[in-house]
């Protein structure tokens, strides 16, 4: 565990050693704030809650999370440091987990910095803070799911642009799988798949958290989703490490 945390710590410090962290956080805060107050109609709705904010977070993460993960392995490959990292006395899964935890902690920091929104609703009215907390937990799980996808795809290539585009595309599939467009299309043609698509949809699962419901099966879904992609990540690192 010590080695995993050492990897995570180095990685997290790496974000803040370059402008990546600051650009990401600023863009995330500006976009989430702007969307919440304009398109989300934060004031016009006349309700003291963070629903307009939570509506946008999964879609913002869809583009921003792959920007964090694209460098995760691709950069190690480009610099050749992957050879250094994987010849230190750690198992491959420790390196994979360490990098994932660092990226996840970074997303948690970005989410935590949206606290002024939370203060605002509490000043303006009397929101259900339990629902808000569940919403934040859901955001963190969505971030974790996208991160796991992005990290695994980053391990496949040396090129960061390819890593980014692939990650956005695959995350989009899991984000859009539960949308009416997809489910209606599928239910007319292949009804069995419509239900599967809904079950696999990250945004559909997030909807529960957004309403304040933390269901065990949703947590199990996110845990196994992340677990699966981390496993894929370890396999990809193992097979492509020396290329």
């Amino acid at each position: 565990m010590g080695a995993t945390l050492a990897v995570a710590r180095r990685e997290l410090a790496g974000y803040f050693a370059t402008p990546v962290a600051y650009v990401f956080i600023v863009i995330f805060l500006v976009l989430s704030g702007a969307l919440t107050f304009t398109l989300g109609g934060f004031f016009a709705r006349g309700q003291a809650d963070l629903q307009p904010f939570f509506n946008f977070v999964p879609w913002l993460f869809l583009f921003l999370v792959p920007a964090i993960t694209m460098r995760l392995w691709a950069e190690e490959r480009r610099l050749g440091t992957i050879e250094l990292l994987l010849t230190l006395p750690i198992a491959q899964w420790q390196a994979v987990l360490g990098k994932f935890l660092a990226a996840w902690a970074f997303c948690a920091i970005a989410l935590a910095l949206t606290f002024p929104l939370w203060i605002t609703v509490n000043l303006l009215g009397d929101p259900d803070n339990g629902v808000i907390l569940a919403g934040y937990a859901g955001c963190l799980l969505v971030a974790g799911a996208y991160l796991a996808v992005g990290a695994a795809l980053s391990a496949l290539t040396k090129n960061q642009v390819i890593a980014f585009v692939l990650a956005v595309a695959v995350c989009f599939v899991f984000a859009a799988a539960g949308s009416p467009v997809v489910t209606e299309f599928l239910s007319q043609r292949i009804p069995v798949l419509a239900e599967v698509a809904r079950q696999l949809s990250v945004t559909e699962r997030f909807g529960g958290f957004q309403r304040g419901v933390i269901a065990l099966r949703d947590i199990v879904f996110f845990a196994s989703f992340i677990g699966f992609w981390l496993f894929a990540n370890a396999v990809a690192v193992d097979h492509r490490k020396a290329d």
Partner: protein, 251 residues
């Protein structure tokens, strides 16, 4: 007691290309083996397999008695490995980077600090300890890689071109360092520089097209009144010239 580094019929194929073909040799404590060969002969691939970075297609290797395929983490614990080009994380400071390596290697608190301080002293890095690695000159970067290799005072050392890109003074320093460590370690260094073999190595293993062509002391190699350069060219070009000639004749 078995040798610290044992390579047994090690083979690596990439598709139909055989990069390392049935290579065997052993390195005992107190030996410095110079691993020589032209570019693409399979030196780096052999060393990567020793370090557990590339998985062998056939054969195996043992470091301190641990098998590289079955117990990779145990091998990595007792091996100091300098990858080709000495890669490091450019945005980290020298002491930050070495501290990271110390933590991954399981050292904590004052022991980690002592290890980092010792490694920096051995490689004369104290003066730049707080500088980001990307701002350092090539020679310093190479020394940061060396410091990482020596941090845990490993009984076995595998270094891929440790003096590549260094100026003559720095080369001299690195050779002195290797010589000083030699009595209690088993060391393999790869190099293109033949004078280096005479300067630091107790044995030379020459490989060409993935196969070991010579395993002898530097003195034995030079014995028949030829320079090391001539011997090297004969051994590594000798049979490679034939296909090339055949191709010209056919054309």
């Amino acid at each position: 007691m078995p040798a610290l580094i044992e390579i047994e019929r090690l083979t690596k194929r990439f598709g139909s290309f055989t990069a390392v073909d049935d290579v065997s040799f052993a390195v005992d404590r107190g030996e410095v083996v110079g691993f020589l060969g032209p570019n693409g002969a399979g030196k780096s691939t052999t060393m990567k397999m020793l370090a557990g970075f590339v998985t062998p297609s056939a054969g195996t290797a043992r470091v301190c008695g641990h098998d590289v395929v079955d117990e990779p983490v145990a091998v990595k614990r007792c091996l100091g490995y300098l990858p080709e080009g000495a890669p490091t994380y450019p945005e980290m400071t020298v002491s930050g980077f070495l501290g990271f390596v110390a933590r991954v290697r399981g050292y904590r608190g004052s022991e980690a600090e002592d290890r980092v301080a010792r490694a920096m002293r051995l490689t004369s890095l104290e003066g730049v300890r707080l500088q980001p690695i990307e701002t350092l000159s090539k020679g310093f970067k190479r020394r940061v890689g060396l410091a990482q290799t020596l941090l845990h005072d490993p009984p076995a050392l595998v270094m891929d071109e440790p003096t590549d890109g260094l100026d003559p003074n720095q080369k001299h320093e690195v050779r002195e360092l290797i010589r000083a460590m030699a009595p209690e370690k088993a060391i393999v260094i790869s190099t293109h520089i033949l004078e280096e073999v005479g300067a630091v190595c107790t044995r030379a293993v020459i490989i060409a097209r993935g196969r070991v062509v010579v395993d002898a002391t530097p003195r034995e190699l030079e014995a028949p009144g030829k320079t090391l350069d001539e011997v090297f060219r004969e051994l590594t070009l000798g049979s490679a010239r034939e296909p090339a000639l055949a191709a010209t004749e056919a054309a």
